[in-house]
């Protein structure tokens, strides 16, 4: 589950999940759906995704940056994500999706990058929450 957040020049989202692994999956999907219309994306292929970091914050930024690279650099569109392993300094998982087809997966915004601006990753009594701002 995620919602959009306001920023004068850009856009952000707040993601919530029961576990840290789910939080990373939800955040990746938030990124995908800010950039592209996701309705027609099909989970045809599996792509391996990995990232490392010094703490939860940098781990999340590096994970989302990796997802963004596959979206923009490798022209993929993701239907959903699965995190298979997550520690304090490493995350690995996969994205299920297909090659980007501009006709079926219309662009909404070109996301330039994932930022550290007011970044928050926290465990609360209700579960995990993350706030992330994107440069667009």
């Amino acid at each position: 589950m995620f919602e959009l957040l306001e920023h004068t020049a850009d856009i952000g989202f707040r993601a919530r999940a029961r576990t840290l692994a789910e939080l990373f999956e939800t955040a990746a999907m938030a990124l995908e759906s800010i950039a592209v219309e996701t309705e027609a994306i099909e989970p045809r292929q599996e792509y391996r995704l990995e990232a490392t970091g010094e703490d939860h914050e940098s781990l999340l930024v590096n994970w989302l940056s990796e997802v963004l690279y596959w979206m923009d650099g490798e022209q993929l569109a993701f239907h959903h994500f699965r995190v298979t392993e997550i520690t304090a300094t490493g995350v690995s998982g996969r994205g299920m999706g297909e090659r980007r087809d501009p006709a079926r997966h219309r662009a909404k915004l070109i996301v330039k990058a994932v930022t550290y601006h007011q970044l928050r990753v926290a465990e609360t009594p209700e579960g995990w929450v993350a706030e992330v701002y994107l440069d667009i």
Partner: protein
């Protein structure tokens, strides 16, 4: 987080926040009283105070009248650091390395273009790719891309994407020296390769405009500008290549800062010593990305020329007036407290503005000063200025870069629909084409500060002088 600060001003145009806490210097904001009230609404001044904590900062942490909240650095911020002992901050350049503006003049008048405006806008929309569709760009192989990263706009000109004089009329001749493509990751190259010659989205645009008023005859003559003339403003940057370079180096900065014992109030400000291995690697990659951006704007101009010829015939000529970047860190030399200092000037949403006589200005403009191009919001106005002496004395040769956002993208979209906005703009004589529906709504004129007031501040402060006000006719957005 918002915090308390004191603002002092003796002239109603320069506002000072005195040094306090971890700050190593003061903050100086250029603004009018009205603009200042807007500026105080977001975190931009707090961010300018954070910039004042950078190790080796020289002079003040500067904020231009179009300042708004960014990431780490405010957008509209300028900071110079000592070239030997100071730091370089990738956040002080931003994700869109060498995002910038290029102004092109046509030989056509508003009256000649107006009857065929819709056709022209449609043609440009078809010919200039925005980069979301994955086709239509300038195709280069890996080896050619490496050359683009070193030669910038010059590579484009040598390979048939421009006239010989085009590169000469870009800041730094359209390419920075000491670019190091080896420091650019394969990921960055992969993201950038299919995006050369594409506009991008967000606030990037291409605008067909006409000269509404001239405020400095001599400077306007030097630039070949006259009232009623049609010009085109191109606003774009280094696309995915630059974004990835910044992302890559920010990821390395955390561990490197520990090594150099640097602590900062905001992680996005991450920095390393300029003369460190990491600092030099970033600067080599940043320069390569900057060169990609100049090549990108040259590619867009090449496609634009094609559109004008298709609509107005083979005789329709477009000539480059100038090309300036507004996200960059450059090694420059200034007099500070009576001494010449070598500094790295970080311009984050700020434009270089050299005064008359500076040897880095093309000969055609040297007597009048460097052209400074300030895009306003869609539907209002843009400005051509020239740099003035005040910029050399006070702001490390820098001025503002735009109108500055007022409303967030989400707030801009609330309660509006794209069709209505388009219709309203058409009633004002402005034809808009956008790849994305949100592109129109997010960039509505109401989302920006009054560009005229921003310009008035830098003009009165003596940082730059007004030359011409431009009015939009056609807008192409990503």
């Amino acid at each position: 987080m918002p915090r308390y600060y004191q603002l002092e001003s003796s002239d109603g145009i320069r506002y000072r926040i005195p040094r306090e806490g971890q700050m190593r210097t003061d903050v100086v904001v250029y603004a009018s009283a009205a603009l200042l009230e807007h500026i105080k609404l977001d975190l931009s001044l707090e961010q300018a105070m954070n910039v004042a904590t950078l190790p080796g900062i020289v002079g003040s942490s500067l904020a231009m009248p179009d300042i708004h909240q960014g990431y780490g650095f405010p957008i509209g911020g300028v900071a110079a650091t000592d070239f030997e002992h100071g730091v370089v901050s990738p956040g002080g350049v931003g994700f869109d390395i060498n995002c910038g503006v290029r102004l092109v003049r046509s030989g056509l008048t508003e009256q000649e273009v107006r009857p065929r405006l819709a056709e022209l806008v449609e043609q440009v929309f078809q010919d200039v790719p925005c980069g979301t569709g994955g086709s239509g760009f300038v195709g280069v192989d890996q080896k050619q891309l490496e050359q683009v990263l070193v030669l910038g706009a010059r590579w484009m000109v040598e390979n048939g994407y421009g006239d010989r004089r085009d590169a000469e009329f870009a800041e730094a001749g359209g390419a920075l020296d000491d670019a190091d493509p080896r420091q650019v990751s394969e990921k960055a190259k992969k993201r950038g390769r299919p995006q050369l010659g594409t506009l991008g989205s967000g606030n990037h645009f291409l605008e067909i405009q006409y000269v509404e008023t001239i405020h400095d005859d001599k400077a306007a003559r030097a630039m070949g500008l006259q009232v009623g003339q049609v010009v085109v403003l191109i606003h774009s940057g280094s696309r995915g290549l630059g974004h990835q370079v910044c992302t890559d180096y920010l990821a390395q900065m955390g561990p490197a800062m520990k090594k150099y014992n640097i602590t900062l109030p905001d992680r996005q400000l991450a920095c390393v010593p300029i003369q460190s291995e990491e600092g030099q690697a970033y600067l080599g990659a940043m320069r390569a990305a900057a060169n990609f951006a100049w090549a990108n704007r040259q590619g867009i101009m090449h496609f634009l020329r094609r559109s004008f010829r298709k609509v107005f015939g083979a005789g329709a000529r477009l000539e480059l007036i100038y090309d300036v970047c507004h996200n960059i860190a450059k090694h420059e030399r200034y007099e500070v407290d009576g001494k010449k200092r070598d500094v790295l000037v970080h311009r984050k949403g700020a434009t270089r503005a050299y005064p008359p006589g500076h040897r880095e200005i093309p000969l055609a403009y040297r007597e009048v000063g460097q052209p400074v191009l300030i895009p306003g919001s869609m539907g209002t106005a843009s400005w051509v200025l020239v740099g003035a002496e005040g910029a050399m004395r006070e702001t490390f040769g820098s001025v503002c870069h735009g109108a500055g956002r007022l409303l967030s993208r989400t707030a801009a979209k609330k309660g509006r629909n794209a069709q209505e906005v388009k219709k309203k703009l058409e009633e004002m004589g402005i034809v808009v084409r956008s790849e994305t529906r949100d592109g129109i709504l997010e960039e509505i004129p109401e989302a920006y500060k009054d560009v005229d007031e921003v310009i008035e501040v830098v003009h009165r402060a003596g940082l730059a002088r007004k030359v011409a006000r431009l009015r939009p006719m056609g807008v192409i957005k990503g």
